[in-house]
Symmetry: C2
Subunit: 170 residues, 2 copies
């Protein structure tokens, strides 16, 4: 199931993130088992690193954290794993920041919208029918057939707004 509209979207700062990561890995393993897909050690490790990062993480940052000594991986290794994980909906790519985030709702395919905090990097994933509808009807008026909408909203998350300076007034 996708995110419910109106739910609390940003994780609280003090939450048990290790449990998030573990849960995501477990769900991914279950989904792969049902689909006959292979969650290999490399793919599992990349998924773990993506989830472990609070902010969106770049492919080369993932690479840098992958077992520095033993077998050093090449960029292609990471990109291949990311391709697999994206194909199965376990991670999303944020093209406005060239980085990747774990998907909180991998069970069915969906086209998410993202809120990205420019200060702490926190990301909230939404699945808002109203946004999709607004895009869909505007596109339809233009005679355009939507395939994959990219919605990535830069701004400040609740926690950073509480802590820091007031919001910019443009």
């Amino acid at each position: 199931m996708a995110a419910d509209p109106g739910q609390a979207l940003f994780p609280s700062r003090g939450h048990d993130h290790a449990a998030c990561v573990a849960g995501a890995l477990e769900r991914a393993a279950g989904i792969c088992a049902r689909r006959g897909a292979r969650l290999t050690p490399i793919r599992r490790r990349v998924l773990e690193l993506v989830w472990a990062s609070h902010a969106p993480i770049g492919a080369y940052d993932i690479l840098a954290r992958m077992e520095p000594e033993s077998r050093r991986s090449a960029p292609a290794t990471v990109y291949r794993a990311l391709d697999f994980l994206m194909a199965h909906g376990f991670v999303h790519r944020l093209s406005s920041v060239n980085a990747y985030v774990g998907c909180g709702f991998p069970d069915n395919p969906h086209m998410a919208q993202f809120l990205i905090c420019k200060e702490c990097g926190a990301v909230a994933e939404m699945d808002e029918p109203r946004i999709e509808q607004a895009i869909g009807s505007a596109a339809a008026q233009a005679g355009f057939a939507v395939e994959s909408p990219v919605v990535e909203v830069r701004g400040r998350c609740p926690a950073c707004r509480k802590e820091g300076a007031p919001d910019a007034r443009p």
Copy 2:
């Protein structure tokens, strides 16, 4: 003025594109004059190349088209010109394709949404209040302060839909 909701968004295939380019250059020159900004030959040339391309054009493609013989420019030259043009609203960057398009409504600042044809590359720029509102209210519910929304919709434009295979059914 920004795009009117509901207007014809994609340029017709047979339109006089040279006139589009000339018009865009003239408008930019006028705006720069009013603002005391300098539309130098390089900036003007980059703007012209962006407009002359039907599809979004990459920085290195611009570079490749810039007077091959005489003074060869460096990447930074192009990026600096693009920074200037973006700061003044003459071009937009499409981060989902790492490329740039001319802005049809440079007179006042706005946050546009884009429809990008995956086949011919045609881009339509919209300024749909309903999309902005949907994003704004979803963000507000999450306690998020919007600064710059990125909305880039990949799909098929009217002309390509008429010509080619039927739309994919996902």
